[in-house]
């Protein structure tokens, strides 16, 4: 089995290298049979990596502990689905998962986008070049089919922290997002290589970008949710290097998917768009690498991970090739349009870009700060959460403001009449929100600003929906139908606005975190602890075994002004095989208003228990915002037959002309 696995990996390396060469030669020498052969190589690669993945899953499910990877990440008592998740639980497996996804996306592009005939060879070359790197890592450095010299009777098991439904949501979506950005990057390279530098490559990759962005957003949100319910410190974001690494391509990717609209509409920012997608791809690779090596959480492990230099070499090579190509193509990249006014829709896009890239830069700087300070001053100095918050909270507020202004502004130059017509009502609503909150006693300036801006943005978006629907109603459609048709017929625009509404809720949820309160208490049974309006009475402890763990559960009755409203059971569980690592299972009572979050921090022999109780306002809004954001993204990228026909027509016209 493992021999077959090794063979498929070795063949995958060869096929990747062959596909890269064949695609380039086919394009350079104008040899159709080479081009066709390179396309087949992509299919072959997908097949090979599917077989390799199938073999790995088969070994995992048949408990072949002679395979070192399987032995490190699974055990006999591991259930079916968690055994499947072993595919992406460790380094070698997740690299295979990455390469398999890439081959799958490449196959989709070759199959569905064959009509981009001139671009396709270079798209294939980029995909195959990337795949060559990842399959080479699999073959030479981190082999998922490496054998142990003996077959142990049982594996080491999957870390209990990973045995959570989050394991099926967070890593796969995160990887889909990371890998997905390879395709827009590949089309960008192809556009530069072929000098077809109009917005063809952008139209070709619009959906790839949206889908990748959708998955990356989901990956980050699922990660936040998982951290919140599982890691048990009461928060969802700690500015950990690996979290930062997932945020970086999201920030530049978000900037990219906004700025391409300017190129489509006004034929501007061509160089900028190329720079953004190159950076996004580089950061996605950087993110994959950080997640898998932990280089930054212990800055000293550079030498320990043989992958580190290889990843840096690959990122450096990619950036050098891409930026050299870009420099060579600069003469072809003159913008046709020009900025007319500081107050216009395109300028709001520009500021959105500036803000997002500024945020990305600050996060990047903070993340690699220890390395910089060591190089400059010879001592490693790191910056913590206050740095990231101090920089990114104002940036976030500015982003929110631009998000609200953008739909209000006309293209080219917004007139005063246009401004006051659109601006008055949302601005008044935002101001009113601020006044009400201050009168109600809220004194946190950042939070007041965030809520006021949220109201402002929501109003501008709803106003836009309303106006569009009223126009349609003027043509005789009843209002609800008009609203539905409006969204369906302008999916990209209104999908985008739905995403913005989701972002507003996320921002409001984050602003709510400013008001979280904490309480720690050591209680004997019968004693109570109070937090805000709640009183929690500790009833006692119970210990009982389950299939995989010994459970220690505390029972608390939650009272609100004397009335019991809930019973919470925070736990500390000892999983078999992981006796040294107790698992804290927090208890959360969620309402739309706030979360009551209880951690059982420790239990004494006499039943005395140590609790940490946290109240997190508006947490639910974040998750609702996440759902809304996902829905909006789906609306925006869902295939539209009319749009496909239009694109086809445009393409045919272009081919004739």
């Amino acid at each position: 089995m493992s021999e077959l696995g090794n063979l498929t990996i070795a063949l995958a390396v060869l096929v990747s290298a062959y596909g890269l060469v064949a695609a380039l030669l086919g394009a350079g020498l104008r040899r159709a049979e080479l081009a066709a052969s390179s396309r087949n190589a992509v299919y072959a690669l997908f097949l090979l990596l599917s077989v390799a993945s199938g073999l790995l899953l088969y070994q995992a499910l048949t408990r072949d502990f002679g395979n070192a990877y399987i032995a490190s990440y699974s055990s006999r008592d591991l259930g079916f689905w968690y055994t499947v998740s072993v595919w992406w639980a460790g380094q070698a497996g997740s690299l295979l998962f990455w390469a398999w996804l890439l081959a799958g996306f490449g196959t989709l592009a070759v199959w569905r986008q064959a009509h981009y005939r001139e671009l396709m060879p270079y798209v294939i070359a980029t995909v195959m070049g990337t795949s060559a790197f990842f399959t080479l890592l699999l073959a030479a450095v981190s082999n998922p089919f490496a054998r142990l010299p003996f077959v142990p009777p049982d594996g080491q098991g999957l870390n209990p922290l990973l045995q959570n439904p989050g394991m099926f949501f967070h890593p796969p979506t995160q990887y889909l997002g990371y890998v997905g950005f390879t395709l827009p990057f590949a089309f960008a390279i192809a556009a530069m290589a072929t000098k077809r530098l109009d917005d063809e490559w952008i139209r070709a990759t619009r959906r790839w970008t949206l889908v990748s962005w959708f998955f990356l957003s989901l990956g980050i949100l699922f990660g936040m949710q998982w951290a919140y319910v599982e890691l048990g410190w009461g928060g969802y974001w700690a500015w950990d290097p690996v979290e930062n690494a997932s945020l970086l391509p999201w920030l530049t990717g978000t900037a990219f998917l906004h700025s391409v609209m300017i190129q489509e509409k006004r034929d501007m920012l061509k160089v900028w768009n190329l720079v953004l997608i190159i950076l996004t791809f580089g950061l996605a690779i950087f993110g994959t690498f950080l997640t898998r090596s932990g280089v930054l959480s212990s800055v000293h492990s550079f030498a320990l991970s043989s992958m580190g230099p290889l990843f840096f070499a690959f990122i450096a090579l990619t950036l050098i090739v891409a930026f050299t190509l870009l420099a060579l193509r600069l003469p072809w990249l003159q913008s046709a349009g020009d900025l007319d006014s500081l107050v216009s829709r395109e300028s709001s896009f520009l500021f959105n870009n500036l803000i997002l890239v500024g945020a990305a830069f600050s996060v990047f700087l903070g993340t690699i700060f220890p390395m910089i300070s060591e190089a400059v001053r010879g001592v490693k100095i790191s910056v913590g959460a206050p740095f990231f918050n101090q920089v990114n909270v104002p940036i976030g507020l500015a982003l929110l403001l631009v998000m609200g202004l953008c739909p209000l502004l006309a293209w080219r130059k917004a007139s005063l009449a246009n401004l006051s017509r659109n601006f008055l009502f949302p601005a008044a609503l935002g101001l009113l929100t601020a006044i009400v909150l201050i009168v109600a006693g809220m004194s946190h300036p950042v939070a007041v600003t965030a809520f006021a801006l949220s109201a402002f943005v929501t109003a501008t978006i709803l106003l836009d929906f309303h106006r569009g629907a009223m126009v349609r109603r003027g043509h005789g459609e009843p209002y609800p139908l008009a609203l539905g048709q409006l969204v369906l017929r302008n999916r990209r625009r209104y999908g985008g606005y739905i995403v913005h509404l989701g972002m507003v809720l996320l921002f409001a949820g984050m602003a709510g975190s400013a008001f979280s309160s904490k309480q720690e208490a050591v209680l004997r049974p019968g004693q109570t602890v109070g937090i805000n309006q709640y009183t929690l009475r500790y009833e006692g402890i119970s210990r009982y075994p389950t299939r995989s763990a010994m459970v220690t559960a505390a029972t608390l009755t939650v009272m609100n002004g004397g009335d019991p409203i809930a019973v919470l059971n925070p736990q500390r569980n000892i999983h078999r095989g992981h006796e040294e690592q107790p698992m804290t299972e927090v208890a959360i009572r969620s309402t739309m208003l706030e979360d009551l979050y209880v951690i059982l921090a420790g239990v004494g022999a006499d039943g005395t228990a140590n609790f940490k109780v946290i109240v997190n306002p508006l947490m639910m809004w974040m998750w609702v915002g996440g759902v809304l954001l996902s829905l909006g993204a789906i609306v925006a990228f869902w295939p539209d037959r009319r749009e496909a026909l239009r694109a086809r027509a445009r393409y045919l016209v272009g081919a004739e002309g």
Partner: protein
């Protein structure tokens, strides 16, 4: 350069300057030495009382009073070691053998941590070939 472009240039410069100021003040308020056990001991008195992030491996022999939440353990870089005391919620990833980062101050003998991080296991990689 057109007038609109000039205005843009000014706006961008203002934006970047504001960002740089925020970054500078944020960095100043949250900077801490990021040291290994050996580096901390070598620097000696120079870092006593300063805020430090200390990185090391947790040695066996962890003294944890679950009721009071007081945790005492030792971190090592393989050759030398420093005792650490900490009070608060202990992350699940913390265990002997784990890579830990503690934030706090060193008084010359003991490190008093106000925050404790232990490396998330998804980022762990078993030693090559080792089981």
């Amino acid at each position: 350069m057109s007038r609109a472009k000039k205005k843009f240039a000014v706006a961008i410069v203002l934006f970047v300057a504001a960002g740089a100021y925020l970054a500078y003040s944020g960095a100043r308020s949250s900077m801490a030495y990021y040291l290994t056990v050996g580096e901390l001991l070598d620097r000696g008195p120079a870092v006593v009382g300063a805020s430090v992030r200390l990185n090391g491996k947790v040695l066996p022999g962890v003294d944890w009073d679950q009721v009071s939440g007081r945790l005492a353990f030792t971190v090592s870089d393989g050759s030398r070691q420093i005792p650490v005391v900490y009070q608060g919620v202990v992350p699940d990833t913390f265990k002997p053998g784990a890579e830990a980062v503690v934030e706090g101050t060193y008084d010359g003998t003991t490190f008093t941590a106000v925050r404790l991080f232990a490396k998330c296991p998804s980022k762990f990689e078993a030693k090559p070939g080792g089981v």
